[in-house]
């Protein structure tokens, strides 16, 4: 596997395009230097954005398979996530959440193939 083997201009252009997308979306509201403050209601609304974004990213990942809601309880991911969440509420430590969740997930996934 050599360093540049298989590199082509088209793929590099796509990577450049995705870089612009990252920059544009992450800095969208930083560009203008105009003085304007968010209306109060919008500021309160944004308090809910972080947890909504996390839930929207994580829960489909854990509760769905191939674009469908789990129709079978034998799935290692929701179990791993449930163990992880329980450990979080017990010890309030993200590292322990990851370790416990993986300890629940890996045997089910690798040995039972769930």
């Amino acid at each position: 596997m050599s360093f540049f083997e298989g590199t082509d201009i088209w793929t590099l252009a796509v990577i450049a395009g995705l870089t612009v997308v990252t920059l544009l979306t992450r800095t969208f509201f930083f560009f203008s230097s105009e003085e304007w403050a968010l209306p109060d209601w919008a500021q309160r609304g944004l308090q809910y954005a972080p947890i909504a974004a996390m839930a929207a990213v994580v829960l489909p990942e854990v509760l769905m398979q191939q674009g469908q809601f789990l129709h079978n309880w034998m799935d290692a991911r929701w179990m791993g996530a449930a163990v992880g969440a329980a450990v979080y509420f017990w010890r309030h430590n993200v590292l322990l959440t990851i370790v416990a969740g993986m300890l629940a997930y890996l045997p089910l996934h690798l040995l039972l193939g769930w």
């Binding site: 990252t22 930083f30 230097s33 959440t97």
Partner: protein
């Protein structure tokens, strides 16, 4: 931006590094598997490194890989990345109030480096922006320390994944550690009933709208959850007012 002395010499910088360190292993496992996935999907080592360093957005990278492999039109891939990243626009709107005292270039570097975990941990640490210059400096230094830790973990792990791609099979499921890291952060945010309500609404919406194209379900879930939570908040306040 973590390469500015004013930020990295500030005590809030190291405090933030220590604060976010527990999430680093989960992020690293996720970065490792993203590195493996890039090479396995047929990107060259050079392309994988360029993508890691410049795109720096795991979810849009992973969404783009199958499309690149399938030779989808470039605009479709870029549009997909845009939709997957739409949530960052909401984040930048929120962070604006914290960073507007900085010059444009500086706040844009901060923004570029602030991905999901950094945003969530920063807004959890500082619930409100400050008017006081000393506090503003501390907040910027804290964000710099936070994003520095996340950047180093993600980049180092992605590089490891790129070079070890032939040894680590994706079937092991190590990428699940990244999901667990997000589970932990989700739990840490679920501190009030209203927030749990918002998470529930977002989850139901994201699952129900999962089959929308371009991962549009995520931004839709954020929108619906924010609007419904605000409405419920207002409703509860009105009812309280009537009761009194």
């Amino acid at each position: 931006m973590f390469f500015k002395a004013e930020n990295y010499r500030h005590p809030a910088f190291m405090e933030a590094v220590r604060d976010v360190a527990p999430q680093a292993p989960g992020l690293a496992a996720w970065g490792l598997m993203t590195g493996v996935a890039m090479v396995n999907s047929g990107l060259s080592v050079f392309e994988s490194i360029a993508m890691t360093l410049f795109v720096y957005a795991g979810s849009s990278q992973l969404a783009a890989l199958p499309l690149i492999a399938a030779g989808a039109p470039a605009w479709v891939i870029v549009a997909t990345g845009f939709c997957v990243n739409l949530r960052f626009m909401v984040f930048s709107l929120h962070l604006r109030q914290y960073l507007m005292h900085l010059p444009r270039l500086e706040r844009m570097v901060h923004g570029y480096l602030t991905a999901d975990i950094s945003y969530v941990l920063f807004t959890r640490r500082f619930a409100n922006p400050s008017e006081d210059p000393a506090d503003q400096l501390a907040q910027a230094a804290s964000l710099a320390g936070n994003t520095c830790m996340m950047w180093v973990s993600w980049i180092a792990a992605s590089f490891a994944g790129i070079f070890l791609a032939n040894i680590i099979p994706t079937s092991w499921g190590l990428g699940f550690a990244g999901t667990l890291c997000l589970v932990g952060i989700l739990c840490s945010l679920a501190s009030t009933r209203m927030r749990i309500f918002a998470a529930g609404v977002a989850a139901v919406t994201a699952i129900a709208a999962y089959n929308l194209p371009l991962k549009f379900n995520i931004i839709m879930a954020i929108g619906v959850a924010v609007v419904l939570s605000m409405s419920l908040e207002r409703f509860l306040k009105m009812r309280e007012g009537q009761g009194a």
